[in-house]
Subunit: 219 residues, 2 copies
DNA sequence: AATATTATTTAGATTTGTCTAAATTATATT
DNA sequence: AATATAATTTAGACAAATCTAAATAATATT
């Protein structure tokens, strides 16, 4: 199956948006890929032709098993490159996404498997997202919860669910990174903000919007 | 200047073919890029529009200073990635070209400069070709000569001028790699073949075609 | 249920990079 | 110099990926 970069981006987007949902809407994909719904319809026909998605007019889009397999390989490539950029080239986690977005389209199984080996076969990327292995299997992770729902006092940052530069920059500025231990000081009901404290720093408050996007492990 | 992958490939090809020549022909570019002369003419108009080449109908093509600057950056990216693949991911030098051909189009100065640093700012790639620095300057190399023209007895392989898989495979099979020391046993005038010997191996003969493409340093 | 709103698709156009076939220009040969 | 051959360009077409505007279908609201 030889896919264009555009086709790979659609597959990846559908995979990301599907997550649980039965189907993904034309509009959602268009928004995610910063394109127009009409373009999504066009591409849907092509991907259906290639048997990578199930698609009936007006009925939404979902990946076929083959489409999902391909999506997972793309995710694998993306996350391994992110590891490389952070671990080997000393990029910070909030600046690797765009570059990995390009590197992920270089298709060579040998390259990716060697890269994985070189990095020590990591199972999570710098954002805490799991990296599927060459067979597409995810190592089952400890259960992660978003910070706004975690009940424990002491938590460890294990990832972020929104990878927009704005959020990553904010976390960077606050000194929150993967593995950072956080103590929850107080939760404010009226706006669901959370006061937290990082070791050796004074406490500060983060909004619900932020806490919803921080994934944590309970310690 | 935002170039497409196709445009970059044309720039790179023109740079490679120009080397000394005043201009490059439409046909030569078409052959090098495995496309048709008509397509080259089409692209020439576009690149002229962008002021990356000098081009007048029927008069051949040459890079402008800006075109050359860009070409050298592409060459830098290509060769650094080749180093990475060989030095870090244990690829052999005859299998890296195609992959580097894709990686070279990922445009991020920061990425390339960090990669260079990570590799120890190498000045030659696994084929012995010089790697320009971030400013586009080549470190002046010891003068290399092709094996068919070298007069000395003892030589060291410093590169190959043709990087086709077929040649690289041949060299690999014969145990000839970068840094290999060669003794010239005999030169046969009638077909310009050369009998050579590698330490601890029995002598064998290589054709003019091969010897022309092996670049050597005199020891 | 009728109507308004939103989502989706179709139709037709555009851009990029390519092609083939025909026309033109340059170069080589007699 | 005339003619043959080779190189190059033009003209017109195509596929991929996109777009806008209009049409249609699904969903929500009154």
């Amino acid at each position: 199956m030889n896919l264009t970069v555009a086709e790979e981006n659609y597959i990846k987007s559908i995979y990301k948006l599907q997550d649980g949902q039965a189907v993904v809407s034309t509009n959602a994909i268009a928004y995610d890929l910063d394109t127009k719904p009409a373009s999504v319809t066009d591409m849907a026909k092509k991907l259906k032709e290639k048997k990578l998605i199930d698609y009936e007019k007006y009925q939404g889009i979902s990946l076929t098993p083959e489409g999902k397999r391909i999506a997972i390989q793309i995710v694998r490539r993306h996350r391994l490159w992110e590891c490389f950029l952070v671990d080997k080239l000393s990029f910070s986690w909030d600046e690797v996404h765009e570059i990995a977005e390009e590197l992920e389209h270089v298709r060579s199984e040998k390259l990716i498997n060697r890269l994985s080996e070189f990095l020590g076969n990591p199972t999570t990327d710098p954002h805490g997202d799991p990296i599927p292995d060459a067979q597409g299997k995810f190592s089952k992770n400890k259960q992660l919860v978003s910070l706004d729902k975690a009940t424990a006092r002491r938590l460890e940052v294990a990832g972020v669910s929104d990878q927009s530069s704005s959020l990553l920059e904010f976390l960077n500025a606050k000194g929150i990174k993967l593995g950072t231990q956080i103590d929850v000081i107080e939760r404010y009901e009226f706006d669901n903000s959370v006061e937290i404290k990082i070791r050796n720093q004074s406490a500060f408050t983060i909004s619900e919007q932020v806490s919803k996007n921080i994934m944590v492990k309970i310690l």
